[in-house]
Symmetry: C2
Subunit: 573 residues, 2 copies
């Protein structure tokens, strides 16, 4: 009773070429080409290019997939973290005579099966000089348990190429195909673009003539400089400038402003991890702009802009470009970067960035072998009471941040002990895809509100505890929120009270009849490393974090703490 939609009759030669002639079962009206505002290459060669639009009233997406060199078929779909097993797939395949399109799923072994309910709706297929266009629609949420639920935040898109015709869909096994994954934010916020002033100027921060190194991953560092005496301006928009042809290689880019306390910074253009890189570049860490593949232009709200230039602000900027070159292409030249749009007519408010989540401290740790262990950081009512203006602040964008074990991040706003609103949530968060995201709705935060950030970690591949810290094998739980008007509060975070952690180590010691060295000269990481990680010790640690008082960090820009007191605060309920 499964209905296969025949897309086309197939013209089959020794070299399998897919020719789509006829389109059957058109459903709904066909969006035009310019109706797809978002675009991302799926594969490193850019042979598959996905464009899409989002209809919130319809709760559905329209996809346009351009296949530049069509073969016997292809798979496109989504899965929790980009895995090819138990994935939700739209499949175009040919049996050598005809081509078919269907909504399918892959089982735990990678074998395909047709869904009992067809939720990828084929709207059209068109052959053009540049390749084959496939047009299809998908609701955010279907009622098929085999389907992926499309949510806010990161979506792991996967694709596979069918090189030869197959007798049937069931004959396809994803594990045997050329394939790949691309992370995107599918559900872009539906925000109206603020009016831009006529006197707006632009500045391109690009690293000219970089020869992309022939290695999978390169972080390229380039120093730029504002004109001498450049007065205070407001950045009101920025976007990526990608050298044509390199769309699939430029993975993400950031522009950092350097520290104002140094009068000058050396020029540099080279890999960020090079021994030749001047040490001082490490003092260029204040994010001005960040872009990742698939992201659109970033707009500041009409009332605010990001200040740069003028006294008390460094003239030096550092551009960092992450090249992702898995095919190890050699000798490719690139001059990509970021274009800043700015104005001298300052908007009413400066925008600011505030750091929410957990303090970078080893007291917050994740046991090894955990599928999903959560840690929570609090920006408490006491801190917002002291540090925020009576009229509150408006959060309009957010960048989530963890290290390699991070799997989910969410920040919620609570008022009077009750959850009011999700500030930003990513249930498929990847540390490899850290965009600054404009929020669907601006979030107003008032004195006395709480901002609670929870991160979920996976440590299944680790054999010892992962403690909080700066190292790549240590963890963070951070949400950089972009807001206005700027305040003195730069950091509003927490960690468990160290005295209670000490009680935990004592308890583990006594309960398990084993020695966790309590000698005062042993560091907290060392104590965590010596815990015998059975289910009891894991769960008690989790209960401790949910129960014990916290110490609150409520810091001004100058790293001076707001006077919230030194006694640990009881945990917000």
């Amino acid at each position: 009773s499964l209905k296969l939609r025949e897309v086309a009759s197939m013209y089959f030669t020794a070299v399998a070429v897919l020719m789509v002639i006829l389109v059957v079962a058109l459903q709904g009206s066909l969006p035009r080409g310019n109706d797809f505002p978002y675009k991302v290459p799926l594969d490193p060669q850019g042979l598959l290019e996905l464009s899409w639009n989002v209809s919130y009233p319809q709760q559905a997406l329209h996809f346009q997939l351009l296949v530049r060199e069509p073969r016997a078929g292809l798979l496109f779909g989504m899965s929790d973290r980009g895995e090819f097993e138990n994935a939700d797939l739209a499949v175009l395949w040919s049996d050598g005579r005809s081509s078919y399109f269907g909504d399918a799923w892959s089982d735990a072994k990678g074998q395909l099966h047709l869904d009992s309910q067809q939720d990828y709706q084929l709207l059209g297929a068109r052959k053009a000089p540049e390749g084959l266009y496939l047009l299809f629609r998908r609701a955010f949420s279907t009622c098929d348990p085999k389907d992926y639920l499309i949510e806010d935040g990161t979506v792991h898109l996967i694709y596979g190429i069918l090189e030869k015709p197959v007798p049937s869909l069931q004959a396809i096994n994803v594990s045997a195909l050329p394939r790949g994954l691309q992370r995107v934010q599918l559900l872009k916020p539906n925000i109206s673009i603020p009016e831009l002033p006529r006197d707006m100027e632009t500045m391109e921060i690009t690293a000219p003539g970089v020869v992309i190194p022939s290695q999978e991953t390169t972080y390229w560092c380039y120093m730029a400089e504002l004109p001498d005496g450049f007065p205070k301006h407001h950045i009101i928009k920025y976007e990526a400038v990608i050298t044509a042809g390199n769309e699939a290689l430029v993975h993400h880019m950031e522009v950092f402003q350097c520290a104002a306390e140094f009068d000058s910074f050396p020029h540099y253009s080279g890999p960020c991890d090079s021994k030749m890189k001047p040490e001082r570049l490490n003092y260029c860490r204040h994010v001005l702009a960040a872009w990742a593949m698939g992201a659109q232009a970033f707009y500041y709200p009409e009332e605010a802009g990001l200040a740069f230039g003028g006294p008390g602000s460094s003239r030096y900027l550092r551009l960092e470009v992450h090249y992702h070159n898995p095919l190890v292409i050699k000798g490719r030249r690139d001059s990509s970067g970021i274009r800043l749009y700015y104005t001298a007519r300052l908007r009413p408010h400066d925008a600011g960035i505030m750091e929410l989540g957990l303090v970078y401290s080893p007291v917050m740790a994740i046991p090894p072998g955990q599928h999903s262990f959560t840690l929570t950081g609090y920006c408490t009512d006491k801190c917002t009471q002291l540090a925020l203006p009576a009229a509150g602040i408006r959060i309009f964008a957010s960048q989530l941040h963890t290290h390699l074990a991070g799997r989910k991040v969410v920040t919620v706003l609570a008022r009077a002990g009750r959850e009011q609103q999700v500030v930003n949530a990513d249930g498929h968060y990847s540390p490899h895809f850290q965009e600054i995201r404009m929020l669907k709705e601006v979030v107003a935060v008032f004195p006395g509100d709480e901002l609670i950030t929870t991160c979920t970690y996976n440590t299944e591949d680790r054999s010892r505890a992962t403690v909080g810290g700066f190292g790549i094998m240590e963890e963070m739980c951070v949400n950089y929120v972009h807001y206005y008007p700027q305040t003195q509060l730069e950091l509003c975070k927490s960690a468990v009270d160290p005295g209670y952690l000490h009680r935990y180590f004592n308890l583990v010691n006594r309960f398990n009849d084993e020695e966790v060295c309590m000698c005062p000269q042993v560091s907290i990481p060392q104590q965590f490393y010596s815990v015998p990680w059975n289910s009891f010790n894991r769960e008690v640690l989790s209960s401790l974090y949910a129960f014990a008082p916290i110490s609150v960090h409520c810091n001004e820009s100058s790293a001076v703490r707001f006077p919230v007191g030194t006694a640990p605060s009881p945990l917000p309920s």
Copy 2:
């Protein structure tokens, strides 16, 4: 865009009478009257009578609701535990001119709203001399988040009577209506009825001429006696015998066999809690048969029967009838009871009953104020290895049992540390509805298998810990499984190792800076009562139960333990 189905034009007089003349939108074929094998009265007067059938291939139920005295409309539906808020409802209502039928839901305040998706499908409405028949269909699972998911085990059916026409569905608030609840097992197992022998005899164990007391709840006890010299027989079937007209009053009934060590028992017919009840009746506790409202005849599998009569078995039986008389009807006479079908030609195997779950011990406790706290009892591989025959046993029926805080019970079969099969599960378990249920599938248990029983409790209305024990305010977690061939193993249960519980009390003591009296003369319940129940102490207790070794009770009929050893067993994984 909501589609209301007009059921009928309404003939409206001073006394609102619903006249169904016309049926619109018939969907599917109409099941005939004899297609509804299951029947239950919904209200204590029997004015609403529900019949139904189950189609496993269609994964759907057909309901026939007889309304004996139709008014302006009625509500019928389901909810987690019989509450009227956030319930899933089929509603028949009249605005004074027309009648309507729709799938609706009640919000947290009891107000009705039409579902966006209509999943109660009206198939027909028919006026007959005895009342109005409504026929409708409902899939077990719909994709509407406002709908109830129909699962195995108890379903809490709710109803309400609309006495006056309403302008619209939204004008209905459930809290203002005459209403009630009935618990049934909707998804009856689809088992084929074993062939019954021609020489089968019957015996009715009924309490003749009881005047049902004019109080809400009565347990009536009646002693019956088998003929002198009655040889061993096999009970192969039993069913309820309900005095006509009392279908809504007889809530449940059980037949117990008395202890063989007493030669005689006094005759008695009266309330079970009467001071006049002879003490010795407390020795009649071995369940022979149990029936609850809505239950059908109970059949033993072809290969087995329940032995009664003959040497070593008491001639005395105790019938217990629970009358539920919320309207406090006076002077109603009743002679209900249970009809046993038995045969002298013994079947190949005697059936037995085994008790799985937790030992009745205070070491297993539930903190107060818990929405859902779980406790787990193990019938371990060691015990089944020693006590079961090599060919295994077959479990064919199960009766779940807890005291008042019980909310869910599930038993799973595990083999080599992996879950194989659910033996019986009730996610909406109620201590007020303890049927013996025939299993959908007979479960084979072999030496070395484990049977793991988990109970979920709600103690939100309690201010001190609930410990395990026999008292009505203490708790149990038991699954009485009915199986064949009978073995010596009567009880296969566990409890946490008391030494580890002692460590828990020590830990609570030290961590919380409070005194939990550890003096040896203080009982375990007293220690539990003195724990300060914060989230940490609650969660650590839960972690302890999941982690600590257990002591295993693996008892023969004679209450002699099988020699599984006295050291606590490590917890099965």
